[in-house]
């Protein structure tokens, strides 16, 4: 190790004490960074679906880490093993840590047994984003969908997760719904566990 300073040196990141997660940065700092993420990815793709997929991938890697971090710090190295448990973990714990609030709603899809929806009136990543007309249904919430998929997948609940704008009556801006469609195996296991 080079240098002997007043800052304590750790040879390994795992030796460091885990922060309590109370530190904050300004919302603009995050918004600027997120905007660069989106702009960079725009240069790497030919179409909207591809762009959403790349944002989702970026989110996935965040989600996988968030799961590990929160299970260790907040849940004493335990994680949820039941469907409703993990959904409420995402809706409450994960949301609270990442976005400072519990998500507006968590609902079960009415048409399909395997679908659940987390909705947010003003998703943090969409706060400063307006979608140009020619980009159709593109939703930067794909990043958050990726986070959700990362958390679920890491916990053993593989799912397809997508972000959609849903217009609300009387409101200018639509809300964002994160649609979670669980893999067949998840529902089978859940049924077996009773």
């Amino acid at each position: 190790m080079i240098g002997v300073g007043k800052v304590k040196q750790y040879s390994n990141v795992l030796d460091k004490p885990l922060s309590k997660g109370k530190q904050e940065v300004s919302l603009s700092a995050f918004a600027f960074l997120f905007s660069e993420l989106v702009q960079y990815n725009q240069t790497q793709v030919d179409n909207i679906a591809e762009l959403e997929r790349r944002l989702e991938d970026a989110g996935y890697s965040v989600g996988a880490r968030v799961l590990e971090l929160l299970c260790h710090r907040d849940k004493g190295n335990r994680r949820e093993t039941r469907l409703l448990g993990i959904l409420s973990f995402v809706h409450s714990t994960v949301w609270k840590v990442l976005f400072g609030k519990v998500a507006d709603s968590l609902e079960k899809g009415t048409e399909h047994e395997d679908e659940y929806m987390i909705s947010e009136k003003e998703l943090l990543v969409n706060r400063f984003i307006s979608i140009p007309k020619d980009m159709g249904t593109f939703n930067c919430g794909a990043f958050v969908a990726g986070i959700v998929r990362g958390v679920l997948d890491g916990a053993g609940f593989p799912a397809v997760v997508t972000a959609h704008f849903v217009p609300i009556e009387g409101q200018q801006r639509p809300r964002t719904t994160i649609l979670i469609k669980f893999a067949e195996e998840v529902l089978k296991r859940e049924a077996r566990l009773g």
């Binding site: 940065v25 603009s28 700092a29 995050f30 400072g100």
Partner: protein, 186 residues
């Protein structure tokens, strides 16, 4: 109404909307990983991070000026102090100090006491040439260019590379005189 005086970094940070630093840290990590996968060469990643920072700096300076009420700095020394004390604080919630001035007063170091970008980060052997926080140098360069200062910003010390602090060297290359393409009526 008399114009309000400059505000301290702490006061601004306390008044702006904030987000959890971990979301910021992990998102930045996702960006760096994506760049490493796409560009493969560490040198290219450094360049791209710097470019992203530059883009951010160009936009961020407006918000900085609007919220800080900082008036024109008399010299580069004051500029550096303002970046360290107000700029870093209001956006990242951390403080920085300015040291190592050269005799001409055109080159100094900004030392970060805390760096939210690097929580959970360790550089693997394959990324030894990576300047992980290169986005920060780009931000400073971009922001200063918008206030007529051409600078060169490089990393002098990097804790991810085994140094004992994060130290950015900021060198003033030239001060671009302000031009008035428009007719000044007042």
């Amino acid at each position: 109404m008399a114009p309000a005086g400059p505000r301290s970094g702490d006061a601004i940070f306390a008044s702006v909307e904030r987000v959890n630093a971990e979301l910021f840290t992990l998102t930045y990590g996702a960006i760096v990983r994506q760049l490493l996968t796409d560009l493969e060469e560490v040198e290219e990643v450094n360049k791209q991070l710097d470019q992203m920072g530059y883009n951010i700096g160009v936009r961020l300076v407006d918000e900085f000026l609007a919220k800080s009420n900082v008036s024109r700095c008399v010299d580069f020394k004051e500029t550096a102090e303002v970046i360290a004390k107000v700029g870093f604080k209001m956006f990242l919630g951390v403080t920085a100090s300015v040291t190592n001035w050269d005799a001409e007063g055109t080159c100094c170091s900004i030392v970060l006491e805390d760096n939210p970008l690097v929580d959970f980060v360790e550089l693997p052997d394959t990324c030894q040439g990576l300047y992980y926080c290169n986005v920060l140098s780009g931000v400073i360069r971009g922001a200063l260019e918008m206030v007529s200062m051409k600078t060169e910003v490089t990393w002098a010390r990097d804790m991810l590379r085994g140094d004992d602090a994060f130290e950015l060297q900021v060198k003033l290359l030239k001060q671009v005189p302000e031009e008035y393409p428009y007719k000044d009526d007042e």
